[in-house]
Symmetry: C2
Subunit: 411 residues, 2 copies
């Protein structure tokens, strides 16, 4: 019998408890022994529950009990989660978490701590919710050098963009519906809509691919606030959809580039068909080519089931997991991890006539004309060319309202 | 330094050798030690190669060398592969294979042998080529009861169906092109086009899900020979594509049903967009909902990289893998593993007028009228209703040329 503790009895934490109870037999079979929750840490009052005896308010109770082998952290944020997880690892207990903010910020340190204390620090649920992404990446792809990752990793914005496309709905209305359905935070939805959540996730995947910590603050990040129904219609004319893409790639010179940005995704791309709250991550291996992992990106039970799978791995393999699931500490990079390669870009300009836009941006295609501007597909440009063009548009009294990279078509 | 042997230096075997050489550093990092090929068993003459010293013609050389820790089997078929693999496992060496025929036929026996000799028997590459499917299924989904699997697992037929749909091409012509490109066997393509290859793969996945051996001969299997361009066009009218689907599901009563058959796949289904030689497998977990694993289903290096990932797992985890990757021996079932549930069906009938077809099949929709028959979508029918209808069509002098189940739309 393996005993574990759950820190935080919110959505995911209570889901972990539920999954362990409902699928106790299959978990026991795979773990090689039954898994039992001995403590649940939460500051709130659960004294009217039949299992009230499990609840504690002080982490020390858990740390003092040698029976507890694995600690599940589902508090979220870093204020409490980070010191608790550190203490747990330092005491030699494995930790399984769904906390992307903590992994994106302190991942390298916590991995090193786990290794030096002979236990495991696992976080499959931090990216893609229940969909297995991190585990197949580090394990099944052991024989590949991963060169690129490209994915839809935020369910909220993907739901909104799908809604906008299907029902000709504006950003504000789509956000309101996402909030009503509980997909977006009511108080402050900016973590999702401004791309910060996706940024943390691609920071985690980038760290895993690069072998050293990649920090969210070095990843250029832009959300979907500026995308309009007209942009989505223009994209459709070009055989594309608009998706919030989180990506990373190894650069030929040895560096790394990463970003979170709404992109034009050609409909032939596997990511174009990923709709609603679904997530998908495409990984390119040098031997394997592209593989895609697809599934629901969030939700109580899917996410909880990924945490429970990590608990099984922690019990079975412990520190051995970190032969492949590991990255080194590193300082944040100076400046942003931009990609110098040119690409095709969609630009929406106000206050400049199509002929002027074409003259400034060079070879391309007029996609739509508005009463005071136009949308234009630039055939090929890099970051500095785009910057220079935006300056020129400003000089003629116009302004660039939106720039979207188009993913390559041959994928 | 871990030493391994490769049995069979064909496409996959030589690919394994190449992957181990090209990605030696990343393999060593993940395995915790360098991995070196000490022997290659092949009856052919490779004496002019610079590495000729590695080649041996007798398995006993390999079995007599205590340095060899893992044996890679890529001979194919069962005549030589099966006794060699048995001997290797009995000597306590782990075996990694891409041989679906052997796993589908002798999987339970070889798994038990591995367990009793404290080594591993791994076969990720037997389904989906390089795409990780078996490993995430048994490991990442540890916290889920899997209730359904549905996939496109044969790249050759998927390439042909894609070609037929895109270029209005008949079966024979599509087969010829697949043969020219090396996707289909020239001498006898029937393993692919008649569904036997897909049948072995779904037998393996079914065994893993059910926990006991499921035999290919109990799985109703039908290939794509009878599918015409007209059927594909009719499917398109219904918002569907035609794909060769391998599927299994747990029945409410506790049994299992499985099959390989061309199906109408609604375009909203994630499998509908899987084209060319790509494979995709959709797995339904009771906690997780649907996840999809997508990638190239075959090819030398993709498949080889999956074998090499298994070698890493065998070296690191050995027999521990079989806490979750395991199924019990079982007798073949009596009769076929059919699904009694009703579904919508597309039928193409010759020698009977639409009104007659409608009267016989009941509620549905006329999809296309031909000079001597029609295509009809039956709203709801089960196997016995279809059989009875076919008998009646025969009684009026007609004949049923093709029956395709339509996958549910709500997926």
């Amino acid at each position: 019998m393996a005993k574990i503790a759950i820190l935080g009895f919110g959505t995911v934490g209570s889901g972990v408890y539920e999954v362990l109870n409902r699928n106790a037999a299959s978990v026991a079979r795979r773990a090689g022994e039954p898994v039992e929750v001995k403590y649940i840490l939460d500051v709130r009052d659960f004294s009217d529950r039949p299992d009230a005896a499990l609840f504690v308010k002080n982490i020390d109770v858990i740390l003092a009990d040698p029976e507890v082998k694995v600690v599940v952290e589902t508090i979220g944020g870093t204020r409490f989660a980070y010191p608790y997880v550190k203490q747990a690892l330092e005491s030699g207990r494995s930790v399984c978490t769904s906390n992307k903010e903590m992994v994106a910020t302190y991942g390298a340190e916590l991995l090193a701590l786990a290794k030096s204390h002979n236990c495991a620090f696992l976080f499959e649920a931090s990216v893609g919710g229940g969909t297995p992404i991190i585990t197949p990446m580090h394990q099944c792809l052991a024989a590949n050098v991963i060169t690129e990752v490209e994915g839809i990793v935020n369910g909220t914005t993907n739901f909104m963009l799908t809604k906008m496309a299907r029902e000709n709905m504006g950003f504000d209305e789509a956000l309101k519906i996402a909030q009503q359905l509980g997909y977006a935070e009511t108080k402050d939805p900016s973590d999702d809509v401004d791309g910060r959540d996706a940024c943390r996730k691609i920071a985690i995947l980038s760290s895993l691919v690069c072998g050293h910590h990649v920090y969210p603050q070095n990843i250029p990040t832009r959300g979907i606030r500026d995308v309009t129904v007209e942009d989505i219609q223009a994209a459709d004319k070009l055989g594309c959809v608009i998706k919030l893409i989180a990506w990373m790639k190894l650069l030929p010179g040895g560096g790394v580039a990463a970003g979170v940005e709404p992109c034009l995704v050609p409909k032939v791309n596997q990511l174009a068909g990923v709709d609603d709250v679904f997530n998908a991550v495409k990984v390119k291996g040098d031997m394997l080519g592209d593989v895609v992992f697809y599934g629901k990106g969030a939700g109580k039970l899917p996410t909880a089931s990924a945490v429970v799978a990590d608990v099984v791995d922690a019990l079975k393999h412990g520190v051995q997991m970190h032969d492949s699931l590991f990255w080194q500490p590193a300082q944040p990079a100076e400046g942003m991890l931009t990609d110098p390669a040119p690409a095709a870009y969609y630009v929406r300009v106000e206050g400049a006539a199509p002929a002027v836009v074409e003259a400034i941006y060079g070879k391309g295609r007029l996609v739509a004309e508005h009463f005071d501007g136009c949308a234009y597909l630039v055939e090929k440009a890099d970051a500095s060319a785009l910057e220079e063009a935006a300056r020129k548009i400003g000089a003629v009294g116009g302004s660039v309202k939106l720039v979207l990279r188009r993913l390559p078509e041959e994928e």
